[in-house]
């Protein structure tokens, strides 16, 4: 923060758009519309406050920031709240430092706030980092004049499984209700009752099931909102804090990791105005128990002659792995990196495949994918940084179109920006999707589900027909993306689900060319974008260099100190093709990072391939379907124990340092480096810093971007019989994700798993709302209650991996496939 310069004399002209006022005898110029409390801050005068928050609208709820104000030579009759009053020309302000009136007023408010506040600071979670405690200690009375019995409420009141409310401590500053209303847009909590009985509460039938509820705990200026996971675990002065980066999604949100006695106790949102401002989603905040879950692998394991995995030493495990891989090199090695890697690890996988395995068969995409997607990424995404499209640019855009992307579920930080832009700048957000999801509703400019505006911003498409719909967008959407005829300005965000719809990436590319809109690729996993940059893809070397380009290969060979022409020049295979090849015996060995076979398009085929392949090396944190079949399992370090960096969807590097002791566990890049050394090649990726340094020296490609894909739009599948429907599906934020394990309080805030169909389809299929319906394929079935939603006719929606709905594992089907639906 820069301190304001005092205006030197009264004779200087007041700058355009500014006013001149006096605060505590100092003359200052402030921009028009600035809040008095901010002007004081810039002068270094701290006015005490509770309800004021720079990212929330002014409320004037706590009255702690009273100051004396004089306008036009006449003092205002009563002290004024400086957090709601804007500056004006000629204003004379006296804060508590110079005005006995303001000081007395503030002391009175403090005494009032403390009347019913319990004296339980020693056992309160907030004690030690509590604004109320701090201000009571610095400027409150030393003794209390209040002798009556304090008002009490039953406590704690769980307003969700994650957030507990202690109403006695609440000072009614309304930060939490304002956050829910203004930032998250899901006002589950509200002020109830009046007078002394006034309290924060939820509706009886609607608990606080917000994906952002954790932020209210963090901004609560007293200990009224506490988290079930952290309650009574520690005090602020016990904790050691390390800045970190969210590892659950591609948003790259800044977090603060608080540890004590070698365990992570809580995570808070960091303050990064460029990225996440001061907010994070609940999964990033609460899902860290995977660090200590029962499934964590801490010792290397080798499958013995008896077919049982047994713990062994690192030297033994690496020797066995290297021997097996060296023997399999003739037959071919495939590398599946997975989408949870830091950019350094992904680089190590990419280099391991090229140098140690001698192949381009490396892919990070542990999800349905397509060749069209690779072309799109090579043409539009790789190498682009936040200078092209950032959160700031996204917020400033007049119109945004989300294609095959459910922002709140897949990229919550993107959703928060879109919501902010809609609210503050009137941004138009269109969604090419299937139904009016909560995110569609809350990014509409109207209010409520019933308002026509909510429907306006959904562009419905039958799964599989998205590309055709995109090619024939309504003219008002195209105009909006053009920026109202000003040329450009709009933004198209495309999610990873687009790979399941043939022709959709091509259609996005064509739309961008047609409207001048900027394209952003928002994957769901934190590692996807970094792995793309690091070259863990079959057609691209690090820095987005095409493998087919001899000059690009020569650049990489020079830096890797390889003989000329030693890098494989044929494009490699994608994840699905690698697994098919492994099942058919075309590949003799697989090296698999953090891949869950049940995320892939065909889990059964993936499991078969993993079982059939001659030699399987798994680098994992937790036991999984892959480690069960692996010949060698090498444990890798979770983020809390290592340094590294992610590349978020903007293309921004998000480095982090280890929050816990980094000894005893090895990151992927170190494991791969040691494994390669055993195989007689050196990757020089012993540490994340070394890997990052080398990737930095490689730089970006020098040639032009390859042409965007031009795949014709696919036709959606047509139901063959009346009992069939087209499946629409995507994953919800809080679900059975492998990193969300062991967190029951968080799981309690998950959205319910429901089968969604529209009323007409329900009638045709004989379904009734609330009654169970069964969705069936040849592989299996899922039975869930029905909810009537505004889906297109003949479409049924299931959450990807929530509750009993594990679509890929149980049905073997995906977005756009045909399913049987019965009551």
């Amino acid at each position: 923060m820069t301190l304001a310069q005092d205006a030197s004399t009264d004779t200087d002209p007041v700058p355009e758009g500014h006013v001149r006022l006096t605060i505590d005898g100092r003359v200052i110029d402030a921009p028009k519309g600035e809040l008095l409390i901010r002007t004081c801050e810039r002068l270094g005068i701290i006015v005490p406050r509770f309800c004021d928050h720079p990212l929330l609208d002014p409320a004037g709820a706590c009255r702690q920031c009273l100051v004396e104000v004089e306008m036009g030579g006449r003092p205002m009759p009563k002290p004024q709240a400086s957090c709601t009053m804007t500056v004006a020309d000629g204003m004379v302000v006296k804060t508590q430092h110079t005005s006995p009136v303001a000081e007395k007023a503030q002391a009175g408010v403090m005494e009032l706030l403390l009347i019913n506040h319990p004296l339980d600071c020693p056992i309160c979670d907030k004690g030690g980092e509590c604004p109320l405690q701090n201000q009571a200690m610095t400027s409150g009375r030393t003794d209390s004049r209040f002798t009556e019995t304090k008002r009490t409420f039953p406590k704690p009141l769980p307003i969700s499984s994650q957030v507990l409310l202690d109403r006695e401590r609440c000072v009614l500053c309304q930060r939490c209700t304002r956050f829910s209303e203004e930032i998250a847009g899901d006002p589950f909590i509200e002020l109830l009752e009046r007078g002394a009985e006034q309290q924060v509460g939820v509706a009886d039938d609607k608990p606080f099931q917000s994906y952002f509820s954790g932020n209210t705990i963090q901004i609560c200026p007293v200990g009224a909102l506490t988290s079930a996971a952290y309650r009574f675990r520690s005090r602020p002065f016990d904790l050691r804090s390390t800045p970190g980066v969210g590892e659950h999604d591609s948003g790259g949100g800044a977090i603060r990791v608080d540890t004590r006695r070698g365990t992570v106790l809580r995570r808070l949102a960091g303050n990064d105005p460029e990225v996440n401002e001061e907010w994070i989603d609940d999964r990033t905040r609460f899902a860290f128990r995977y660090l200590s879950s029962a499934g964590r692998i801490t010792r290397p394991m080798v499958r013995g002659a008896d077919g049982v995995l047994a713990e062994t030493s690192w030297t033994d495990a690496l020797a066995v792995a290297a021997q097996g891989l060296a023997a399999a090199k003739e037959g071919g090695i495939g590398v599946l990196a997975g989408g949870r890697l830091t950019v350094e690890d992904a680089y190590a996988y990419a280099k391991f495949a090229r140098v140690a395995a001698g192949t381009n068969d490396v892919d990070f995409r542990a999800r349905p994918h397509s060749a069209e997607e690779l072309d799109f990424l090579a043409g539009h995404v790789v190498g682009q940084g936040p200078e092209v499209l950032s959160y700031t640019r996204l917020e400033a855009a007049p119109a945004v179109l989300c294609v095959a992307l459910e922002p709140e579920e897949e990229a919550p930080l993107v959703f928060l920006r879109l919501h902010k832009a809609v609210r503050k700048h009137g941004q138009q957000v269109f969604h090419l999707g299937q139904w009016t999801t909560p995110a569609v509703e809350r990014t509409s400019r109207g209010t409520g589900a019933a308002s026509p505006a909510a429907k306006d911003n959904l562009i419905p498409a039958v799964p599989g027909a998205e590309a055709a719909v995109l090619a024939a967008l309504p003219s008002h959407v195209v105009d909006a993306l053009r920026g109202g005829g000003l040329g450009g300005g709009g933004v198209v965000l495309v999610g990873e689900r687009a790979a399941e719809v043939p022709g959709l990436y091509s259609a996005v590319s064509a739309l961008a060319a047609r409207t001048g809109a900027v394209v952003g690729w928002v994957p769901r996993r934190a590692g996807d974008r970094g792995a793309l940059e690091a070259g863990a893809v079959p057609t691209l070397l690090p820095g987005g260099r095409p493998v087919g380009d001899a000059r690009a290969r020569a650049e990489v060979e020079a830096l890797w100190q390889l003989p000329s022409g030693s890098l494989p020049s044929l494009p490699g295979r994608g994840t699905a093709e690698i697994l098919t090849a492994a099942a058919d015996g075309e590949l003799a060995a697989l090296v698999v990072g953090g891949v869950d076979p049940y995320d892939l398009a065909d889990p059964a085929a993936a499991i078969t391939a993993l079982r059939e392949v001659g030699f399987l090396v798994s680098l994992e944190m937790h036991t999984s379907a892959v480690t069960e079949l692996a010949d060698v399992v090498l444990p890798v370090a979770p983020d809390a124990h290592r340094a590294g960096s992610y590349v978020n969807w903007e293309g921004r590097r998000r480095p982090f340092e280890p929050a816990l002791d980094a000894s005893g566990v090895l990151p992927d890049c170190r494991v791969l480096d040691t494994l390669a050394v055993e195989m007689d090649v050196d990757l020089f990726t012993q540490t994340p810093a070394a890997a990052a340094g080398e990737l930095e020296r490689l730089g970006a490609r020098t040639g032009a971007a390859p042409a965007a894909p031009a795949v014709p739009a696919g036709e959606p599948r047509r139901p063959a019989s009346p009992g069939q429907a087209v499946l629409a599906t995507w994953r919800q934020l809080v679900d059975h994700a492998s990193l969300s394990v062991d967190e029951p309080a968080l799981a309690g805030t998950a959205r319910p798993a429901l089968v969604r169909v529209n009323a007409a389809t329900a009638e045709r299929l004989g379904l009734t709302e609330g009654a169970p319906a069964t969705v069936r394929t040849a592989r299996g079935m899922i039975t869930l209650p029905v909810a009537l939603t505004d889906l297109p006719d003949g479409v049924v929606w299931l959450p990807g991996n929530s509750g009993d709905s594990r679509v890929r594992a149980l049905l073997g089907a995906g977005h756009g496939d045909l399913v049987e639906v019965t009551a």
Binding site: P122, I123, R231, F232, R233, R235
Partner: protein, 179 residues
């Protein structure tokens, strides 16, 4: 010459004074009533622990002699009334200076000091007292935790009626409640 007898006079007169020598360990006199001896973790009258694992004693300790880890009570496994209990409790008597600040800090009167002072050992490890060593013995009517709350429905009943509960026959109350 007079100086000579004067000196012996002191010696002689001492023979008629009260002997201050303590015949320890043959004779084991009690310490002063409020002597800062070994700590004790107290129990509610039904045997539930008073410690709530708040760690304030550890924070008050100027010698960093106390180590506490709290744990969660569940309805199946309850050690104290309320939400939390002290799962791990250690006092390192190599460090303890007997100042008693921990006693002042304790919000539930769980931690108090006894008159017991024989805490010498030739093994440093033995001087780190664990929770089992520090817990007060089970008096008649007390039951070894974990067990449900016998004297009320919530922790408030234990704290608000604490003084009166101390005086009543616990077994009778529990029997009356039909638990």
């Amino acid at each position: 010459m007079f100086e000579f007898f004067k000196g012996f006079g002191v010696t002689f007169s001492t023979m008629f004074k009260k002997v201050v020598t303590e015949e320890y360990p043959e004779n084991f006199p009690p310490a002063a009533p409020r002597y800062h001896g070994r700590h004790q973790l107290n129990r509610h009258p039904d045997g539930l622990e008073k410690c709530v694992g708040c760690e304030l004693c550890a924070w008050a300790c100027p010698a960093d002699a106390i180590y506490v880890e709290g744990g969660d009570n569940t309805d199946e496994e309850r050690y104290s009334p309320g939400e939390r209990y002290g799962a791990v409790y250690q006092i390192n008597y190599l460090r303890c200076i007997g100042c008693g600040l921990c006693i002042e800090a304790c919000p539930t009167r769980s931690l108090t000091m006894t008159n017991f002072y024989e805490m010498a050992d030739d093994d440093r490890q033995n001087l780190i007292y664990t929770k089992e060593q520090l817990m007060a013995p089970l008096l008649p009517g007390m039951e070894q935790p974990p067990h449900p709350m016998r004297l009320g429905d919530s922790e408030l009943d234990y704290y608000v009626q604490g003084p009166s509960l101390e005086k009543v026959d616990v077994t009778a109350v529990a029997a009356e409640a039909g638990r």
